[in-house]
Amino acid sequence: MIYVIEEKCIGCSLCVKACMFGAVKVVDKKAVVDEDICTLCGACVTACKKHGAIVIEKQSREEADLSAYKGLWVFAEQRDGKLMNVALELLGVGRDMADTLNVPLSAVLLCGTDAPAGDGIPQQLIHFGADQVYIIDHPLLREYQTDIYAKALVSLIDRYLPEIILFGATTIGRALAPRVSARLRTGLTADCTGLTIDTERRLLVQTRPAFGGSLMATIVIPNHRPQMATVRPNVMKRLEPQTSRTGKIIEVKDTSLQAEDMCTRILEVIHEADTTVNLQEADIIISGGRGLGKAVNFKLIKELAHAIGGAVGASRATVDAGWIPSYHQVGQTGKTVHPKLYVACGISGAIQHLIGMQTSDIIVAINRDPNAPIFDVATYGIVADLFDIVPALTKAFREKLGKE
């Protein structure tokens, strides 16, 4: 429950400003909280740190006996027999946490290979930090399908009782993890950008963005196991591989998996030839906006991207205009990206676009309009015509980086 200590409240309205939901008002110089609207998120409590006038009291729950659950698992996502980068990033962040908890770091690999025991992937996982690899190698698991993957993973969880499972927040991870968490009736936190361990309570502490990234939330799952999280790709750091590392490979046979378990069927998969780089895993993104003027000018963007070794992004306006396919779109209704370098060419910087890229390490903005909002988030701003600047950048990078 939430209440205001009136003697401490000075009516400064910091709490009103902090509330995303409009649940706090100042009436007669005192804060008043509308409990029908309040979600107990605590933003107002944080805003009032100085005076401590707003208090949230959590109701205590009986601590469930969760001690049977031990171990930190990472879902080793693979596609077409190739490990996704995010799986290695998860091992990177999992390594320290597993050591803190004094439990093994295990990778879970579901696959369908014709080669013995997963065709080299288990060894790769161990080199990148796993102590153990659970592997179910079954023909029905060759391609991702939600129902059969969920069934296989849940049977592993029921058998080996991990306390934490991490997934990459990819199209697969975000389809699979909520299916599994709902089946197990446990907690799942989406798209985490920060993970630590609270050693006192032996809990995974998850930090993740909400409201398109304008608010960060810290979340725990105190009374349910396993604690599950999907983790944003390209945020955590993977370890340097050590080929001398050894680990245990645990092959699990699951005889319960049947074709009838699969309730959806993939008829066809189409990889768009243009994109060899996954936007969410890219270190560098060169992005084009309405300032390009017409579809054919995306050529400039593609050339710069090629010269610098980056992926091609786009604003919503260009996608809506049909200048470039939608999976290049960065923004609130497109993809959220976090590259080391984001170059915005002819993009004005509407809030919905910023939401998709404002956590990039370095942002370079190129726009003729000095008042374009994109300059509010730029590390380096270039007020100039992109038709002059982009080719000049391409030329310079080609020369210096020796690319054709």
Binding site: K17, G213, I284, Y380
Partner: protein
């Protein structure tokens, strides 16, 4: 076809302004809207009804003033609207929300298709659609940008990171949709007038036989212990000169910071 579309009332973040001094977003007092992806879901349902006939039912779990968004959905053309509203439903995380919605859907009874937006622009989890699919034991297809229905089957285009796949499922099924599936229609004047008069059903936990331990805060395994504003980005630096000079300067800066 009977199609149930689940929608959420969210703050309108397009109204968010940027504080140029602190480089942060000003979030106070935002108006409420239908979650943009849910508008795409409503439009998809209306188009399917135009093609196959039937009914479009809107379901929403929210505060009493979410009624406004339900009326907007009816104004777009939906036939019926149900609001799950009660203090006991509130403060739900995605598991409790999925439970509440799926329990309500069981009460609605007969349906061929359940549509959700990909995710809500406030929570950003994308977990409720799959959670409902699990609790109802239904096939799920997420990130859908095209829907074809024939012979009690749905064939959908599902967007991947680097392309798409074509997925088939037998109805009833759960689909979550992305923005590129359609352009949501504006409500007609006739629709707005109809929506003013339509009766919105308000359901409480008793009305759907919900287990009190699984709804609201009680039914939520995740706990938000803190919220905070992310670090502002810091000042920006203007690069000027001839295009060649700017290119050299930028290259040097990026090389210095080990970006290239």
């Amino acid at each position: 076809m009977r199609i149930i579309v689940s929608i959420k009332q969210v703050p309108d973040s397009s109204e968010v302004r940027f504080d140029k001094e602190t480089h942060t977003m000003i979030r106070e007092g935002l108006p409420s809207i239908i979650n943009p992806f849910d508008e795409n879901a409503i439009e998809a349902a209306l188009q399917l009804r135009e093609e196959h006939g039937g009914q479009v039912i809107i379901l929403c779990m929210g505060a009493p003033h979410a009624e406004e968004q339900l009326r907007q959905a009816v104004a777009m053309g939906a036939d019926q609207a149900i609001l799950l509203s009660d203090r006991r439903f509130a403060l739900a995380d995605t598991l409790a929300t999925a439970y509440s919605l799926s329990t309500a859907i069981k009460k609605i009874g007969d349906y061929d298709l359940l549509l959700f937006g990909k995710q809500a622009i406030d929570g950003d989890t994308a977990q409720v659609g799959p959670g409902v699919a699990e609790m109802l034991g239904l096939p799920q297809i997420t990130y859908v940008r095209k829907i074809q229905i024939s012979d009690s089957k749905v064939i959908a285009q599902r967007v991947l990171e680097d392309g798409y796949e074509i997925v088939q499922a037998t109805l009833p099924a759960v689909l979550t949709v992305v923005k590129e599936i359609n352009e949501p229609r504006h409500a007609s004047l006739r629709g707005v007038l109809k929506a003013k008069k339509v009766e919105i059903s308000i359901w409480k936990p008793e009305d759907i036989d919900a287990d009190p331990a699984r709804i609201g805060k009680n039914g939520s395994p995740t706990d938000v212990i803190e919220t905070f504003t992310p670090e502002p980005r810091g000042d920006s630096q203007q690069l000027s000169g001839t295009p060649e000079e700017i290119a050299q300067a930028l290259f040097a800066l990026l090389r210095q910071q080990n970006i290239i």
